[in-house]
């Protein structure tokens, strides 16, 4: 390969730096005055080269930072340590602020003398806003999930302690009444009694589905096993978790598994199903797999099969959830939650 002459290299490099629009790249003299400027710096900060060259770089800092001596402090640190990275508010020419990521690098010549500083600035305002929105969304979802959990428990206890009790009393009363009636009326009351008993049974199932699953008492794996046994489902549980999840993560894992298993029971026509729990990326990876008919035309944004609810629960906990129907058949619900404990 032909070796390019030095002048051509540095010329190209200068052109590259001047043309970069996503990063403000410019140089300061040892005292902090601007000596070069590029297209990105103009775009981000609003100053043209001829307006800004020669001015002190503290122009870009908000008054409170200037008062506290932050610009000079940053140069001192860069000089002492070679470089400094910072994120914070900076000011544009028109006085508006933007959230910047800044890297200041001290530039020394061959004799070890400080020649100035290189400064690379990125406008992170949009990204910061997006991150903020994501955080807000997660927080909101977490509140919603928690509120939903509490509401479920309240409904479960109300139905259990009040409605079912009243229906049990009615059922006992009907049995008593049937004994005292002549045969021709007894059948009618027996039928009524049967209807009440069947309603009690359905309500008990409802309570079972929405009540707290008792994870804190028996652990996630056993709570899942109990759920499978109570719903007469044949599914294997492969538990390779290195560490039992905390209460919040455990309830989220349980509820998503419950939703996925309910789908399998109701829709999949599967002959086998399995729940795999493993530790991945300092978090909990869970796969609920079946060999059933799969979901045709799967749209994970559709409101069907509780897909959105599963995803929201996982995302509220800082994780993700995806549902797929592989070509060979069956459905895979896969989700991951971070282990947020130290």
């Amino acid at each position: 390969m032909p070796v390019q002459p030095d002048w051509q290299d540095s010329d190209l490099f200068r052109l590259l730096v001047l043309g970069v629009r996503d990063y403000g790249i410019f140089m300061l003299d040892p005292g902090g005055h601007i000596v070069s400027w590029n297209a990105g710096a103009e775009r981000i900060k609003g100053w043209a080269a001829e307006e800004i060259i020669g001015r002190h770089f503290s122009t870009f800092y908000p008054p409170e930072d200037v008062r506290s001596g932050k610009p000079e402090w940053e140069l001192r640190v860069a000089k002492a340590e070679g470089a400094l990275e910072d994120e914070g508010w900076r000011v544009r020419k028109d006085g508006t602020r933007f959230w910047a990521n800044v890297i200041i690098t001290a530039l020394y010549d061959d004799t070890g003398e400080l020649r100035g500083f290189g400064k690379v600035t990125r406008d992170m305002t949009e990204r910061r806003r997006a991150e903020q929105q994501l955080t807000d969304r997660r927080r909101l979802l977490a509140h919603l999930v928690e509120a939903q959990e509490q509401e479920r428990q309240r409904i479960a206890w109300d139905v259990h302690d009040d409605t079912i009790q009243a229906m049990v009393a009615v059922d006992m009363r009907l049995q008593l009444l049937a004994r005292k009636l002549p045969q021709e009326h007894r059948d009618t009351v027996d039928q009524l009694d049967g209807a009440v008993r069947s309603a009690i049974s359905r309500l008990r199932n409802l309570v079972f589905r929405v009540r707290p699953p008792g994870i804190e008492r028996q652990g996630l794996r056993d709570a899942l096993a109990t759920y499978l046994a109570d719903t007469a489902m044949m599914a294997e549980i492969h538990n390779e978790l290195e560490r039992e999840p905390g209460d919040d993560a455990a309830i989220t894992i349980f509820r998503i598994c419950q939703e996925a298993l309910t789908n399998i029971r109701k829709h999949a026509r599967a002959s086998s199903a399995a729940v795999h729990l493993s530790t991945v990326d300092r978090g909990f990876l869970v796969r609920v797999v079946d060999d059933g008919v799969g979901i045709a035309g799967l749209d994970s944004n559709s409101g069907h099969f509780g897909l959105i609810e599963m995803r929201e629960r996982a995302e509220a906990a800082g994780g993700w959830c995806t549902v797929s129907s592989p070509e060979g058949g069956g459905t895979v619900v896969e989700f991951w939650l971070p282990d947020v404990r130290p």
């Binding site: 079912i164 009393a169 006992m172 008593l176």
Partner: protein, 120 residues
């Protein structure tokens, strides 16, 4: 055969009394609406069998069972509860309860259990 009923739900209390009183050999001698009252009435009436709810005000069924058995050790107690989880059953067994029936059993089964306990 003398029976005491304790349940905080008035509907259940009333129908329990009627179901048991409907049997010629059973007599409901007292009806309590909480754990404390259950203990007091058991001491007063010395029933053969107590039909005891599990979740009740003033200490719940487990405490009532313990205290009744302290004061009248010959009493037989059947827990009659909507809660059938292992924890609830264990707690009542430890308190000395002989039988545990889930609310929703047939009246005949309840009557049979009360009668069997009373004959022991």
């Amino acid at each position: 055969m003398r029976v005491l009923i304790a349940d905080d739900d008035p509907l259940i209390r009333d129908v329990l009394r009627d179901v048991l009183d409907d049997e010629p050999d059973l007599e409901v001698v007292a009806v309590a609406s909480d754990a404390r009252e259950a203990v007091e009435l058991a001491e007063l009436h010395l029933p053969s069998v107590v039909v005891l709810d599990v979740r009740m005000p003033h200490g719940g069924g487990a405490r009532a069972a313990t205290e009744i058995l302290q004061r009248a050790p010959g009493t037989r107690i059947v827990a009659f509860s909507a809660y059938t989880d292992v924890g609830a059953v264990d707690e009542m067994r430890r308190a000395g309860v002989t039988e545990y029936l889930a609310k929703g059993v047939r009246n005949t089964e309840l009557v049979d259990v009360v009668r069997r306990l009373g004959e022991q």
